[in-house]
């Protein structure tokens, strides 16, 4: 006798979910939506009750957390899942995680949890192991079964991004890890509590296996409390509507919203194939020495995608050509891919009445086995695989923008580039207190890309979280007192240019304040000198690169003591060092992720990130928009001239006659220095024939050529001899 409806086991129930969809093309085989059709008002009331319950759980529980990411940056989520694992409703927050829950429930069903360790009323389960569904170990899932008259009728789930995972680097988003053994505290599905309470032994794991015991234990209490609150509320809702209504209602929500999504694609897009491309780079060479010989190298990572908008309104994303798995921190599994990339789908078409997993029923993926997002090594490092998946969020924002543009719905375009950063930090204060933290403020507040009709807004969106929120700086400083923010502002000229330009990125300057015995910072970023996207939109430039500076041994303390001005962004830091006002013993500059760097009192941690790309030809940018840019200081007069061919008359106005003449010159220059495509093809072909690449690029091409699809394209494009190999 199983624990699910009609005495079925959990495994039978989960398997039936898949079979019914495969057989009928409808979620749970529902060809008719009886409850929706019979009384839509009651149905809506039912659905909104479920949503409200999730939001209530979130808002109540988050007050228990001390982690700034949960408290003020929205990095949490509370969900209701049906017994099969489909998320029916969720609070706002880290919405992508609804994609993972069906994988987690399938994992425990396949592992036979029903028999051992058993799934009883009041049992609490936990998992952050990517092998079983969570995207990476920073994202921790805690869940509780809901029983009604001894039948399993759902799960309540709490999820949040923790501050530190106990890996070889501080924080939750490491930039170095060679396997799961260096990823940190990674827990496969585990029963961690009973009678609606976590066991005491569970706290010890957080205390002993991570750096931030206080944050992590409180986060665990937050998740546990939230799921109990949600559990009780769901049972009240079942009492109100009746178990039969509830049981069927959950399924109808999924099927109804699957239909909404399919119809939305059909009504906004144009079917066809759309290509997207992104490159990443990982630098381990020289950082790991003899201990991990397979990891003592650098990787240029090839991340292509072909989005197929199929005639039936469903989407197939093909990742043939994706870089191979490796002994690095960048591997991920299908749930992680589905989870994070869904954040590119929410704003484009997946916005529905509630956040739910209907998306799973209309999106298919080909993620080749052996690639970094389908690793075959069971111990593959995944601590920051999600960071590398992030570039794939923009498959959907960018390709669907083209599809909507073609259809005439320009207002629905929303292109983006991968350009956010964040950091992990840890140290030992003067009194011996060990601590760790991290800031995702620059990841949770990024500019909008330019669209075909307007400039991107700055500080407008969060790619990995629909609830964009930079958080309150004061809270972050209270919790990470070594990081004093003395500059946080939009950076002039820092955006992808175009007829319409992307929103500017945000520059941050922090001074390290009384770090005590020890302090180290590791930054993760998206660009690595390769830019934020491999293709611009409609002739616009993709945005360029993150800037991360560690400035050591400065005279900042003296400048402050003397009441003198101080620099507030990376541009000023460079200028002031050049002028001699700011002195520094050494400066490290990176264009993306960095190794772990030790910092001293008075050192500066300076970043710039989060700009987005342009749309259209720069020489077609309207002069009135450039004047506005000049007035607000978003663009410098030099940039206006060099990039846009706009000459200023000294009063912030554009000299249109001189500008028209300059633009004509710039067009002529294009004519003079470009070659026809055939000539260009010959030149590029020669590079290919000579294999004249940097080692990292050559390795990338060799790796991508393992795939038939890429090899055919590469060999066909460059017409290389049959015996050409890399």
């Amino acid at each position: 006798m199983g624990i699910c409806y009609q005495g079925k086991t959990l495994k039978e129930t989960v398997d039936e979910r898949e079979q019914l969809f495969a057989k009928t093309g409808h979620a749970y085989g529902l060809e008719k939506l009886d409850l929706v059709e019979e009384d839509p008002a009651t149905f809506m009331k039912f659905q909104m009750r479920l949503v409200a319950a999730c939001i209530n759980a979130r808002e109540t529980a988050k007050l228990i957390s001390a982690n700034p990411m949960s408290m003020v940056q929205g990095e949490l989520l509370f969900m209701l899942a049906n017994p099969e694992g489909d998320v029916i409703s969720a609070s706002y927050g880290l919405a992508g995680h609804i994609q993972c829950m069906p994988f987690i429930i399938k994992s425990i069903a396949d592992l036979g949890f029903e028999e051992d360790p058993e799934i009883n009323e009041g049992d609490i389960f936990h998992c952050n192991d990517p092998m079983y569904g969570p995207p990476h170990n920073a994202d921790n899932y805690t869940w509780l079964p809901i029983y009604y008259d001894e039948e399993l009728v759902g799960w309540t789930v709490g999820l949040n991004h923790i501050v530190d995972v106990g890996g070889i680097q501080p924080g939750g988003l490491g930039t170095i890890s060679t396997s799961v053994f260096t990823d940190g505290f990674t827990v496969p599905p585990t029963k961690t509590g009973a009678n609606f309470k976590q066991h005491k032994w569970w706290d010890l794991h957080w205390k002993r296996r991570t750096r931030t015991e206080m944050f992590n234990v409180l986060d665990d209490k937050m998740r546990s409390a939230g799921i109990v609150v949600l559990h009780d509320r769901i049972k009240e809702i079942i009492d109100e509507f009746g178990i039969d209504y509830y049981r069927r209602g959950l399924r109808e929500i999924i099927e109804r919203e699957r239909r909404v999504l399919v119809n939305r694609i059909k009504s906004l897009a144009v079917p066809g194939k759309y290509n997207y491309l992104h490159f990443d780079w990982v630098g381990y060479k020289g950082n790991l020495g003899r201990l991990w010989p397979a990891s003592n190298r650098n990787w240029m990572l090839h991340k292509p995608a072909e989005l197929n908008i199929r005639t039936d309104g469903t989407l197939l994303t093909d990742l043939e050509g994706l870089a191979s798995e490796g002994e690095f921190h960048c591997n991920a599994y299908e749930p992680a891919v589905r989870m994070l990339t869904s954040l590119g789908m929410w704003p484009m078409f997946a916005y529905t009445e509630t956040i739910n997993s209907s998306l799973l029923y209309m999106t298919d993926w080909n993620i080749p086995p052996g690639s970094m997002f389908n690793p075959q090594n069971p111990w593959a490092g995944t601590v920051m695989g999600l960071g590398l998946v992030a570039g794939y969020i923009f498959i959907f924002t960018n390709t669907l923008s083209y599809a909507y543009f073609a259809r005439g719905y320009l207002e629905e375009t929303f292109p983006q580039d991968a350009s956010g950063i964040g950091y992990g930090i840890s140290g030992v204060l003067g009194d011996g207190l060990q601590w760790a933290g991290g800031d995702m403020g620059l990841l949770t507040c990024v500019a909008e890309g330019a669209t075909p009709y307007h400039d991107g807004f700055p500080a407008a969106v969060c790619s990995p979280n629909p609830a964009s929120d930079m958080g309150e700086l004061e809270v972050t400083e209270f919790l990470m007192p070594t990081q004093v923010n003395i500059g946080r502002k939009l950076i002039q000229d820092y955006c992808g240019h175009g007829k319409f330009r992307g929103g500017q990125g945000i520059g941050v300057l922090q001074m390290v304040n009384q770090p005590g015995q020890f302090l180290q910072i590791a930054t993760f970023g998206d660009t690595h000198g390769l830019g934020a996207c491999a293709t611009g939109r409609s002739g616009g430039y993709p945005t360029s690169n993150n800037v991360v500076m560690y400035v050591h041994g400065t005279n900042m303390r003296a400048l402050l003591a003397e009441g003198k001005p101080y620099p507030t962004d990376f541009v000023e830091v460079q200028e002031w060092i050049k002028e001699g006002t700011l002195t520094a013993e050494s400066v490290e500059i990176y264009n993306g992720s960095t190794p772990t760097v030790q910092m001293q009192d008075g050192d500066l941690y300076v970043t710039c990130a989060g700009s987005r790309g342009g749309w259209g030809d720069v020489l077609e940018r309207r002069f009135d928009l450039i004047e506005e840019d000049l007035e607000y200081g978003w663009i410098s007069p030099e940039c206006a001239k060099t990039v846009y061919g706009a000459v200023t008359n000294g009063n912030g106005k554009i000299d249109t006659k001189a500008s028209d003449a300059l633009r004509e010159q710039m067009r002529n220059r294009r004519k003079e220095r470009s070659v026809d495509a055939k000539e260009w093809w010959k030149q590029e072909r020669q590079v290919v024939l000579d294999k004249n690449w940097h080692e990292d690029a050559r390795n990338m091409f060799a790796d991508a050529s393992k795939y038939e699809k890429f090899r055919k394209q590469f060999h066909g494009m460059w017409q290389v001899p049959e015996d050409y190999t890399l």
Binding site: K266, V270, P271, G272, K273, Y274, N275, L277, T311, T399, A403, F405, A406, G408, Y409, L410, E411, Y453, H454, I491, D493, H497, F500, G529, L530, G531, C533, T535, G536, S538, G539, P542, S544, N545, V547, M549, V571, D617, V618, L619, C639, T642, V643, R670, K671, S674, V675, A677, W680, W681, Q683, E684, V688, D696, M700, Q713, G716, M717, W718, Q719
Partner: protein
């Protein structure tokens, strides 16, 4: 088809020109359901905008259109330049300029610290040979095959989604024929 003026042709024209007021754009974003005749209005607006008469089948970027011409379907710039069969990546019909040095990239990325790693990537610019408008930008390693951004399934779109099949339907239309071009170039030498 019945006209749906909840989003007017005039406003669409302004949206295409990039001059529609943000408040009006927001109304368009909020429009639910969307005006279902948008595509037909769009084609009207675009057809009035271009200086030639070939029938526009689809707009694929600011300047580029797939048009019906002499029994074929070709990519055409609004300036009138024709790139040939739309199934071949139009980038292979462009004038191309490659920014390889930091100085060259610096002309469009004016912040030195944010420039690309020129040991790994180059910046390609694809211009229309007719009007020299910048049609596409790629930041890729040298030797990376040009990205074909979009190959629409026009027949399915017009027949199944828009209910107005094209007169020259054929399964051959929805294919990528880009590799025919370098094969031709290789033969020519």
């Amino acid at each position: 088809m019945e006209r749906d003026d909840r989003f007017s042709k005039e406003n669409l024209k302004r949206l295409v020109e990039g001059t529609l007021h943000w408040e009006e754009v927001k109304k368009a974003i909020r429009l639910s359901p969307k005006d279902s005749d948008r595509f037909w209005k769009y084609l009207e607006v675009l057809q009035e905008k271009v200086p030639w008469d070939d029938k526009i089948l689809l707009r694929i970027s600011d300047h580029l259109y797939i048009v019906a011409k002499d029994g074929g379907r070709i990519t055409k710039c609004d300036c009138g330049h024709e790139f040939g069969d739309y199934r071949v990546n139009w980038k292979l019909g462009c004038q191309v300029y490659v920014r390889k040095t930091s100085e060259e990239i610096g002309e469009v990325v004016t912040i030195p610290e944010a420039r690309h790693n020129i040991e790994l990537v180059e910046m390609r610019e694809f211009y229309c040979p007719g009007c020299y408008a910048l049609l596409g930008v790629e930041v890729v390693p040298p030797g990376y095959p040009p990205v074909f951004e979009m190959i629409p399934d026009l027949d399915s779109f017009y027949r199944e989604w828009m209910g107005q099949p094209l007169p020259d339907e054929s399964p051959d239309w929805f294919q990528d024929k880009t590799l025919d071009k370098p094969a031709e170039w290789a033969k020519e030498g």
